[in-house]
């Protein structure tokens, strides 16, 4: 057993768990050396406690899990196969889509029919709308003249001249 006090280096060895049996034997007998080691250990423990508390506080304010969850997701190979299958499906359905009648076209045909019908009605009228006022003029003069005024279907007057 050492009779003189342990050196600072030996105190540190004790804290690091590297104490020799001789050092340990001295410590059982020497209160000042035990107190010195205890003081150093207390300082280290104090630092550790504060460090743990600070770290826990900082960690508590952050999201629980880093943004790594999505990284595993689908394996790259599976993803490639899924994209390839989707492309093939689209290509396979494309001819059916192109060959099918389009509702837009049908609507256009209907509107064309209505327009033609309206044109027919306009054409079938003997006196155009812009000349209707003239028919009244003719009818007032018809009493003295040779022309006769007859009523056309739809209330239109037709002037018949000889």
């Amino acid at each position: 057993m050492k009779t003189t006090h342990l050196s600072a280096w030996e105190h540190e060895e004790c804290i690091l768990g590297q104490a020799t049996p001789e050092m340990l034997g001295h410590l059982t007998e020497c209160a000042p050396c035990r107190a010195e080691i205890g003081r150093l250990e207390h300082g280290v423990a104090l630092y550790r406690k504060a460090a743990m508390e600070w770290s826990s506080e900082c960690l508590a304010t952050r999201p629980q899990q880093p943004h790594m969850a999505g990284r595993r997701g689908l394996p790259a190979v599976a993803l490639r196969w899924a994209i390839a299958a989707a492309v093939l499906l689209v290509l396979a359905l494309l001819p059916f889509h192109v060959g099918s009648p389009r509702p837009v076209q049908r609507t256009a045909e209907i509107s064309d029919d209505v327009l033609l019908q309206q044109v027919d009605e306009q054409v079938s009228v003997a006196v155009p709308a812009s000349m209707e006022s003239l028919t009244h003029l003719v009818s007032t003069e018809s009493g003295s003249g040779a022309g006769a005024v007859t009523s056309a279907p739809g209330g239109k007057h037709i002037v018949q001249t000889n």
Binding site: A8, W9, H11, E12, I15, L16, Q18, R39, L40, G43, V44, L46, Y47, R48, K49, A50, A51, M52, E53, W54, S55, S56, E57, C58, L59, T61, R62, Q65, P66, H67, M68, A69, R71, R72
Partner: protein, 195 residues
């Protein structure tokens, strides 16, 4: 995983190593197991919560990407600590970090840490002494050279063995011990200042 199973069947990977490799495959479990530890190490080394978070995420990302390179000759924790050590070193070398380090006073940091301390049952005088002691310690550890500080943190906060620290930091055992002695000498001097 298939590659791992092939290696096991070929006798190239022991079950223990396989367990470690499987641990690296599940990144979510890996994060939940080691995140607080890696974050704490980064936080105490850099003293910047945002930068520490960034280093922690980079550490797990790097570990996941390099999982096939893990040979299993150390624990997953030690391997992650090694990656974190390299990332912390890179971060402290950046010009941005150097600028903010110069701009911020560590004394403010130490004061805030000491103020957080709670010691119920102590007299106000004793509590003040302890707070002053902690402030001194905090500043002392902050001003330790990079490797000395890392070694100190890994030994006394993370409670790693000297051999593990040597593996994590890529140093010889003797060098780790030397760093620890120097760091403890600095701590002792700081504590003598508060007597």
């Amino acid at each position: 995983m298939e590659a791992l199973e092939q290696l096991i069947h070929a006798g190239q990977l022991s079950p223990v190593r396989h367990r470690m490799a499987a641990e690296l495959e599940d990144v979510n479990t890996l994060c939940s197991t080691y995140r607080s530890r890696i974050y704490r190490y980064a936080l105490l080394s850099l003293r910047d919560p945002d930068l520490a978070e960034s280093v922690t995420q980079d550490c797990f990302l790097k570990a996941y990407k390099a999982r096939n390179e893990f040979r299993g000759d150390c624990s997953v924790a030690t391997w992650l600590t090694r990656i974190a050590t390299n990332l912390i070193r890179d971060a402290t070398r950046s010009r941005k970090f150097q600028f903010w380090k110069a701009a911020n006073s560590t004394a403010v940091d130490a004061g805030a840490i000491a103020d957080r301390l709670r010691s119920p049952g102590l007299s106000p005088e004793t509590f003040l002494m302890i707070k002053e002691e902690l402030r001194q310690l905090w500043d002392t550890v902050a001003t330790l050279p990079g490797q000395q500080r890392s070694v100190f943190l890994l030994r006394f906060v993370e409670e790693m063995e000297v051999l593990e620290i040597a593996t994590a930091m890529g140093l010889h055992v003797g060098t780790v011990k030397s760093h620890l002695h120097r760091a403890l000498t600095a701590v002792r001097k700081a504590m003598e200042g508060t007597k």
